[in-house]
Subunit: 394 residues, 2 copies
């Protein structure tokens, strides 16, 4: 990855060398089943317990409230399906937002197929969920609210604490889940401070291993397991534990937590510099998402009159890795559901480009990427059949 | 693991060094999201495709019929829940056997909670499913039969091909799933020859990575995804692909496939030697499972008058790793559901010990383990309150 300028850290982050080092012995030397009734098994079970304690300490919860999963999508699915289907046959109401990740939105749709009621909150122009809208959506049978901590495409940070406080005030027990897959790297994930009942994390978003995630489930939350079998993860997620993955996940979360504050300052300075340059140096652009409530590493612009795909191809020719939206869907040609949800028309939504910064991003590399982007936009506009000015512009 | 005699290969196998080597670059250098719209993403997507082709070739199916999962338990759950719940609201009948892994049995129980009908076939004394029993269990609304390829505790190999042929003869479309998590290492997994519609595999059972599995789903089989979100795995299993894991899984399966025949001969000779020695040199023992239809690496004996846990503790003191049953449940004190299902009373089922052989097992090591076992059984019997002879013996 060394010759490229990688600006797609929201899609995935490279495994940190320190994380690989702690994983290695569990792949090459200590390959035991933690269920094994002998010294190697006992030691492995202990190591698993320590990793769980590390994660719990960072999230501010009890070790028994952490379920290790195979990733963010499984965590999201387990949260939604687990709570909504906790008691067979019962049907409930769930509220989520229109800019959630597909792991939430498609799962909500699937729950609707089974007879649950789903409300999808529209968001403000900056991508924020409004408490007013949430209040109106609450029903007698609302069981779960799932709102992401921060959006993966436009970086908008949601008012999770305020949502939790509001749900508390209702006096009903409505469970609150937050998908912290993107937010978890950059924001404080203390579940008690936030007041959430469930929180999803994904290892490869914070320089940890692929195929590893976790779900925090507050003690007392009814949860139906989605993978049944052996008694692993306190009978809530069957399958032989991926020990190397779990140990790597815990180490990566620990490193992310240690560097969170300083990295947030460094990255938000870079982000603001890039936003300013793009707004000043390229005409007819729109910043997608919020100025104020924005992840430190997210830059997302729409460029009038050009297709995101075209920009990406040209960026790739120059060794720059970026994205049009979420990594999972960048291969399809639909406009981003997130950008559309913020009220942008297709003309803008099709031309959105996301730069997401990370550990390797320096001012020099970012400036080089913006220089290239300027040239690319100018070139693409020169060959575009779309009128050079957006409606209503001068 | 070098100082121990590891005889618990059915619980987990050490990652093969060759597998680690092919995984390493995908953990340390090439950390891309295969959904990325740039050179690194494209190359990763290609590598993913090649791994899928490798697996498909070994199983004798199309690459699009392989779904990579996080392990054997997830594969089993996806097969059962995916087929039984393919159409929301519809309820069906499913048949499985009493000696399946808990990933099948507990999932079947959970499906029953949702209103599906489940039949559990009793097995013969050697653990085999009888076609007669299966025939009697078929109902008008039978949608799925799930019978494991080989049992994890007693190594009994099931007549999958005969079951497939029988189901074909019924003239109805009854889908056949086989849990090949244990059988896959030692037996030919060609899905066409076997005639199965779904087949589960787990990487860490054949010297591949933890947290990696696969499910073969024959084209045309209705399957409802259990993890929804991004469009990965042909829209059937969401989540950013664990590329290193997938590449390691494919490599490990390839190695297992290449060495299958020679290893089966070598291990079954060792197995038969061990069975003969134990039967000759230790009194009041019972071989659990089948003589004829037995995995090449499985040895499972009950020892009258002693507890399995006690034997394991003593074996561990002498550096020998064995198991009382499946690894997932060896920590609990219940008698094995598999041994009980073969008609053994609790007196025998509590004293069962499983040795499962693997690449590192030599005749010398195995003989040493049997020597130790003899001493341990003699010692434990000398302090046991149970009468020294089982009922009906001399």
């Amino acid at each position: 990855m060394s010759k490229t300028i990688y600006l797609d850290h929201a899609a995935t982050t490279p495994l940190a060398p320190e994380v690989f080092e702690v994983m290695k012995p569990w792949m090459t030397q200590e390959c035991w089943n933690p269920g094994g009734f002998y010294a190697g098994g006992f030691a492995t079970k202990e190591a698993l317990g320590r990793a769980r304690e590390t994660v719990a300490e960072i999230l501010g919860c009890m070790p028994g409230e952490i379920i290790f999963t195979s990733g963010g999508s499984e965590s999201d699915n387990l949260a939604l399906r687990g709570v909504m289907n906790a008691r067979p046959g019962e049907k409930h109401h769930m509220i989520t937002s229109s800019i959630e990740h597909h792991a939430i939105l498609h799962t909500a749709e699937d729950l609707a197929r089974d007879g649950h009621e789903i409300s999808i909150l529209q968001v403000e122009k900056d991508g924020r969920v409004s408490l007013e809208n949430l209040k109106k959506a609450i029903r007698e049978n609302t069981k779960l609210v799932s709102i992401m901590m921060a959006n993966n495409e436009i970086g908008t940070i949601q008012p999770i604490k305020e949502i939790a406080e509001f749900l508390q005030e209702t006096g009903k027990k409505i469970f609150l889940h937050t998908d912290a897959v993107q937010g978890g790297v950059h924001l404080d994930c203390n579940v008690e401070k936030m007041g959430v009942d469930l929180l999803s994390l994904s290892g490869h978003k914070f320089y940890g291993p692929r195929g590893m995630g976790a779900l925090f489930v507050k003690s007392g939350t009814p949860l139906r397991p989605q993978i049944t079998g052996g008694g692993q993860e306190y009978n809530r997620r069957a399958g032989t534990e991926n020990i190397a993955g779990i140990i790597g996940f815990a180490k990566a979360l620990q490193l992310a937590s240690e560097h969170r504050k300083s990295e947030a300052i460094r990255l938000s300075q870079l982000r603001d510099h890039a936003i300013e340059r793009i707004q000043k140096e390229i005409k007819h652009v729109q910043l997608n998402g919020s100025h104020e409530h924005r992840l430190p590493n997210n830059i997302n612009f729409s460029f009038w009159g050009v297709e995101g795909e075209g920009i990406l191809l040209k960026l790739d020719e120059r060794g720059i890795c970026a994205s049009t939206g979420s990594a999972c869907t960048s291969a399809d040609l639909d406009a981003s559901h997130v950008i559309l949800a913020t009220g942008q028309g297709h003309g803008w939504a099709h031309g959105s480009i996301r730069f997401t910064l990370g550990k390797a991003t320096t001012k020099e590399l970012l400036d080089k990427a913006i220089d290239e982007l300027k040239e690319i936009i100018a070139y693409l506009r020169s060959i575009s059949p779309v009128p050079p000015n957006p409606p209503g512009s001068n």
